[in-house]
């Protein structure tokens, strides 16, 4: 009945609540890898859109059907690569810490992540084929940010602030359409790498 016992009780309660309701195996390394892939994708997208133009003069984004297909392939490829790398590194981490990769927490995390993500992805596809190409990059940032904020209740709490930053970048991108690609590279590339390293250091490999 001492103070220490109650302090320990509270600590236990918090730990059990966290472990039973949040998916904590998420690997920081997967964030770093996703960031690197995104930077690569941004570079390829840049090459595709501004192909053959003088680097220092006025540049015009060249978008025709062929470019759209190339951009879509780059996007889908990056998504698949990042997703597989994420699963791989998270699985390694889960194994090391004796945690299950696929449990009710993981399922809840994924569902809540996917709802805004699929809605946003669908909207972007619609806009792309209606010719509103400039809005696609900032909108992917915006919806990705919303997805992260929505899913952050079910995983490590840092994900929430990452989501808020992505939302801010997305909104800036909607205003400054010309900076869409560079903001996209910051949001999906640089931020992922920074957060990945931070979480890798904080939570271990």
């Amino acid at each position: 009945m001492t103070k220490e016992k109650y302090i320990e009780d509270l600590r236990d309660i918090k730990s059990i609540m966290d472990r039973s309701s949040r998916f904590i195996s998420l690997s920081g390394m997967s964030g770093v890898i996703a960031g690197v892939f995104a930077l690569g994708a941004a570079y390829f997208a840049y090459q595709t859109v501004y192909e053959g133009q003088d680097y220092f003069s006025y540049r015009k984004a060249m978008i025709d059907d062929q470019t759209i297909i190339t951009l879509l392939s780059i996007a889908v490829g990056t998504l698949l690569l990042s997703f597989s790398a994420g699963i791989y590194f998270t699985q390694q981490r889960a194994k090391k810490h004796n945690q299950k990769l696929w449990d009710s927490q993981a399922r809840r995390l994924l569902i809540n992540l996917l709802i805004p993500l699929i809605a946003g992805g669908t909207l972007c596809l619609i806009l792309l084929f209606k010719g509103f190409v400039g809005l696609v990059a900032p909108l992917t940032l915006l919806f990705y940010g919303l997805a992260l904020v929505n899913a952050s209740k079910y995983t490590l709490s840092e994900i929430r602030s990452l989501g808020l930053l992505e939302i801010a970048l997305g909104l800036i991108g909607c205003q400054l359409i010309g900076y869409g690609l560079i903001l996209w590279a910051i949001g999906f590339g640089v931020l992922h790498i920074i957060y990945g390293i931070y979480m890798h250091v904080k939570y271990g490999s």
């Binding site: 302090i7 236990d12 059990i16 609540m17």
Partner: protein
């Protein structure tokens, strides 16, 4: 002081029972094996504590079959949750 002590619940004095309630307050329901893994206790130990929480009607038990295997789900009752929250508030007050 006496008021505070009244809210501390005997049912939660035990670590396993406190753990079970902590998990069931933040999850709609959990099955036996998930609780066992989470709290790292033996079958018998967990079962007896679940029984005692069931007896005071702090948790509800539902049995169903998934692919012909029995699956027991546990969830916190309304009064279980209320008692748990009161218990935590009392601890916080004691700690000042």
């Amino acid at each position: 002081m006496k008021e505070v002590l009244k809210d501390l619940n005997k049912a939660f004095e035990n670590k396993v029972r406190l753990g079970i309630m902590s998990a069931l307050v933040v999850n709609d329901h959990m099955d036996f094996n998930a609780l066992k893994e989470l709290l790292d206790v033996t079958d018998g130990n967990l079962a007896s504590h679940l029984k005692s929480l069931e007896k005071v009607e702090f948790i509800n038990v539902t049995k169903e079959f998934i692919e012909r295997k029995p699956n027991t789900k546990y969830m916190a009752t309304k009064q279980g949750k209320t008692a748990f929250v009161k218990h935590i508030k009392a601890i916080e007050q004691l700690l000042g």
